[in-house]
């Protein structure tokens, strides 16, 4: 951050408030529990019990009272914050890194035509195999992986030119047939299918490798602008409402862990970042110093690393800060619906859900996580806006 940006940031009271809120939330979540004698999951039947077995009201022992099974609310709030911040930061890191990579690539390579089949292979095959691996572990999503694989194989058929040789057609058809078999077996249930799936996949790749060797003389596949390809993919993903997509994915996962939440949130939230970074890259790549360094014959990775990336980092940080706020809400929504970590893990969304029926008897159960979410989201949003104003005074 250069000096002028820092000055602008310092003069922005909203940004400073945001920074303070973020600092308070982080300090409370990570340091708070150190100062308490209570643990988040142990009920206190002696001091934490209200009349009729209702939650205990705030007292000297339990500053914020206790929850529905007499656990200290304040400590749970801090632990919930810890989870929320961890999820938000990791998922944001994944999303921003992925979004930046795809955005920069898409923007910089606009106008470069690539072989569709190569891109499909590059994307779908590793993804499909990763999913198959994950689903063997999680015993879920096999059907989904198979669909993805099948989709890629069928698309590949469409990408064939009409002049393609008989072997290309054979290869494409074989891929599609394998894909259909995969989908059928994948949807038929889990047991035993994973092995079939992997075997069929490997067979298909072998046949394809053979095909590649036979057909080097010609270019049998359609070529498309890389930017178009990437951005139409983003369009498809953006067509799904974010929270809905995240909920569907979480519901599909049998066993939720922190890692699955990171991935679900991170792998679905990168599209917006990719869009913005792409447009920024489009601007930058036409600037004189980039054109000059291209004219001087510098390599593409060098240009990307030295000229493009440093100029989009600021915007990525801004997007990331705002995205943290979004992720906090998303995590809360998931845990409110019971799709996040299983109990007894404290999380703000679950605490909201637990406190909901007690709104008339113990309103603090509902108020505590609600205020925590409010402050955290407010803090990150103010900070994000402040950073944007500081980096990019034109838009302020």
């Amino acid at each position: 951050m250069d000096r002028r940006a820092l000055d602008r940031f310092r003069r922005n009271r909203g940004a400073l408030l945001g920074l303070a809120l973020v600092a308070v939330v982080i300090a409370f979540s990570f340091l708070g529990p150190l100062f308490s004698s209570h643990t988040p999951n142990t009920p206190d039947f002696e001091h934490g019990r209200g009349p009729y077995g209702t939650p205990g009201a705030p007292s000297w022992t339990h500053w914020l009272g206790t929850d529905t099974i007499f656990r200290d609310l304040l400590v749970r709030l801090a632990h919930g914050g810890r989870l929320s911040l961890e999820v938000a930061f990791v998922a944001t890191t994944i999303a921003v890194a992925l979004g930046t990579a795809i955005g920069v690539a898409s923007g910089y390579f606009k106008g470069t035509r690539v072989r569709v089949d190569a891109v499909l292979d590059a994307l779908a095959l590793p993804t499909a195999f990763a999913l198959i691996g994950a689903s063997i572990a999680a015993q879920r999503l096999v059907g989904f992986a198979a669909w993805l694989f099948a989709g890629a194989a069928v698309l590949r058929l469409f990408a064939l030119r009409r002049t393609a040789s008989w072997f290309d057609w054979l290869d494409g058809t074989f891929g599609a047939v394998v894909a259909v078999v995969l989908v059928r077996s994948g949807l038929g249930g889990f047991a035993g299918n994973a092995r079939t799936l992997v075997a069929a996949g490997v067979a298909s790749v072998l046949v394809r490798a053979l095909a590649e060797r036979r057909t080097t003389r010609k270019l049998p596949f359609v070529r498309v602008d890389f930017d178009d390809l990437a951005m139409r993919g983003v369009d498809v993903l953006l067509a799904f409402p974010f929270l809905l997509l995240v909920m569907a994915l979480s519901a599909a996962i049998e066993r939720t862990s922190e890692a699955t939440i990171f991935l679900v949130l991170g792998l679905t939230a990168w599209t917006g970042t990719a869009r913005v970074i792409r447009s920024k890259t489009l601007q930058i790549r036409e600037l004189e110093f980039v054109v000059a360094s291209r004219a001087l014959g510098q390599s593409t990775p060098h240009i990307l690393a030295r000229h493009i990336l440093p100029n989009v980092v600021g915007i990525a940080i801004v997007l990331g800060t705002n995205s943290v706020a979004g992720m906090i809400v998303a995590e809360a929504a998931l845990s409110f619906l019971g799709l996040s970590l299983p109990p007894p893990t404290a999380s703000w969304g679950r605490m909201l859900d637990e406190g909901r029926p007690y709104y008339s008897v113990a309103p603090w159960l509902l108020a505590a996580p609600a205020v925590a979410i409010l402050l955290a989201v407010l803090g990150f949003n103010l900070l994000g806006e402040g950073l944007r104003d500081a980096f990019d005074p034109k838009d302020a």
């Binding site: 009920p43 019990r49 009729y52 077995g53 529905t68 099974i69 007894p344 029926p357």
Partner: protein, 578 residues
């Protein structure tokens, strides 16, 4: 921007305070008082709600507590309970039992109509019984009927028809038993063998429940699974004179909190034992509402089954350790005024029940840890190391209460090094999971009586004959030849006192062998609108809606101001607030 933001926050805070303030002032008294001197009259729809879902509407296969009240309405049987819990004839005008206790003869009423308009004959009765007991039918209650003569031959297709059920004329049916059975009439009063229309055919088919058809006082109208069930009065029923409601409508998948609001707004006519805790406290302490609230101990128990075919519960010591690790004194503090925490199977109201038999499961942490150590999984409480190495998935029920209980259990079991992961399951999902062998190691279970006899608690839950490939009621998949033999003897024993002694011995065995943790007997809370009349808590049958009638005057008075319906209610409450 900051200013705009802070004013927004302020506005929010004001709105919040205001809404809480209004909440307090408005309260929510019942909307009407029961009309003095009103007598039962026809008309009106009884509107109910449940957070749960119905699994099936075919009497041959449905066994969940949610669908039973509606099966009772749509399908009448040969016998039924009277208001005091005695068994009397229903579709059978009268019945007689032979001296050896092996033959029952039922004489059907003349002119009993089924919902399709045809007259009920003895052949219909026999066809319906055979339909349910056929080997292809996934009837979950087969164990109840295994004493009918010729059942085994019929099920393995040696005989084309069930020889134990005879037709002696168009309106005379006989049941022959292979062995005496002290509970035969009681199991006959259950929905499973009740006559179904000819449209049901002779074989079970899962499409029949899309248009169930029987001889009950109410007939099927609509069923959208997960949404709504509607039945309406069948005017061809022989006892139509004592049936008042036009229809009964059950909305499903309605959370407890929503039910409370719906009741306060007059949108449903009762909350039947589906309260969230604060709601129950609220209604209990409310000067007006508490008049319409009944609190009855129910012969029902809850606990957690441990599947003895699955690790680690194939080891008796681990089961015993789990049973001893549950901190029952703390649990009673949590459940204060809500349930009675127990350590044994038979609930209050069942012959043989006593509050604290000497053999009941007790909280004893030291013993539990010693048992874990003996099983090869010593746990060191200081370091938190040791114990059973794998995390066990525990299938909790649906809703707040179930999850809270599960977390208390989780904490207690962590004290002996048994770590569980709580998984919330819908009722239908639970039934499908827990009834399959080697599928679910650990989960909640409970039993609501079918008939007030200890055999009804032991046989379906712990006898080896209740083990099935699908829908196994024996969730623990527990087999014990000694217990089986004891239960068999007790079942046929006609001397009441001798039976009780046998069942107490059986209870000692299951408490010690611990195929389950016995946890609590709930109290049943039912809150009716002032205009919902005629409903009485029946000693045996859960939720009997047939005698219910709607006090039309009172219900109309509740919405008199601006007419019935939701908008009327909303406007009405606005009016009162003014």
């Amino acid at each position: 921007m900051l200013r705009a933001l802070s004013s927004l926050l302020l506005a929010g805070a004001v709105a919040l305070t205001a809404s809480i303030g209004c909440q307090k002032k408005d309260g929510s008294a019942p909307r009407a008082k029961p009309t003095e001197g009103a007598i039962p009259h026809k008309g009106g729809t009884l509107r109910l709600a449940t957070y749960s879902d119905l699994r099936a509407l075919d009497p041959a296969v449905a066994m969940d507590t949610e669908s039973a009240p509606y099966l009772n309405l749509m399908f009448s049987g040969l016998v039924d309970y009277d208001d005091k819990g005695n068994i009397v004839g229903d579709l059978a005008e009268r019945f007689e039992r032979s001296d050896d206790g092996l033959t029952y003869r039922f004489f059907l009423r003349a002119g009993v109509r089924m919902h399709d308009g045809s007259e009920l004959t003895a052949d219909d009765v026999k066809r319906s019984v055979e339909r349910t007991l056929r080997s292809e039918t996934p009837c979950p209650a087969l164990a109840f009927y295994e004493r009918i003569a010729g059942l085994a031959e019929f099920r393995n297709k040696t005989t084309p028809s069930l020889t134990g059920v005879g037709v002696e004329g168009p309106r005379v049916v006989t049941f022959k038993l292979a062995r005496p059975d002290a509970t035969f009439l009681a199991v006959l009063a259950l929905p499973f063998l009740r006559p179904v229309c000819k449209s049901a055919g002779t074989k079970y088919d899962d499409t029949f429940q899309n248009a169930p058809c029987g001889a009950g006082p109410f007939r099927f109208d609509t069923w959208q699974p997960g949404r709504v069930l509607r039945v309406r009065r069948f005017d061809g029923h022989y006892d139509v004179a004592n049936t008042y409601l036009d229809a009964i409508e059950l909305r499903m998948d309605v959370p407890r909190l929503t039910q409370r609001f719906m009741l306060e707004r007059g949108e449903i006519d009762a909350i039947l034992n589906e309260f969230e805790r604060p709601g129950a406290i609220y209604f209990r302490t409310h000067p007006e509402w508490s008049k319409y609230l009944t609190q009855t101990p129910v012969p029902e128990f809850y606990g957690d089954f441990m599947n003895v075919e699955m690790r680690p519960f194939d080891d008796k010591r681990i089961r015993q350790a789990v049973a001893a690790a549950l901190n029952r004194p703390n649990l009673q503090k949590y459940y204060e005024g809500w349930t009675v925490v127990t350590g044994h199977l038979l609930p209050p109201g069942i012959p043989g029940h006593e509050p604290h038999p000497p053999y009941e499961q007790k909280y004893d942490l030291a013993r539990a840890r010693a048992l874990m150590a003996a099983a090869g999984y010593p746990y060191d409480a200081k370091t938190g190391k040791g114990g059973y190495p794998e995390t066990i998935t525990y299938y909790a029920g649906e809703g707040e209460g179930a999850i809270r209980y599960a977390q208390l259990l989780q904490q207690d079991l962590a004290q002996i090094g048994v770590r569980i992961e709580v998984k919330e399951t819908s009722f239908a999902q639970y039934l499908a999971m827990a009834g399959r062998p080697k599928t679910t190691a650990f989960g909640y279970f409970g039993w609501l009586l079918d008939f007030a006899d200890p055999s009804d608690f032991f046989e379906p839950l712990f006898s080896s004959s209740a083990i099935a490939e699908e829908d196994s009621q024996n969730r623990s998949f527990y087999r014990n030849p000694e217990l089986d033999a004891l239960l068999e003897r007790a079942h046929a024993e006609l001397d009441g006192d001798k039976r009780i002694v046998m069942y107490k011995e059986a209870e000692r065995i299951v408490c010690d062998d611990a195929p389950g943790v016995f946890t609590y007997n709930p109290l049943k809370l039912e809150l009716l609108q002032p205009w919902t009349r005629g409903y009485v808590v029946h000693p045996v049958v859960n939720r009997r809606f047939k005698p219910v009638w709607i006090d039309d005057v009172a219900r109309r008075a509740a919405f008199a101001l601006l007419g019935p319906g939701r908008s009327g209610a909303a406007l009405g409450s606005l009016w009162r607030r003014w």
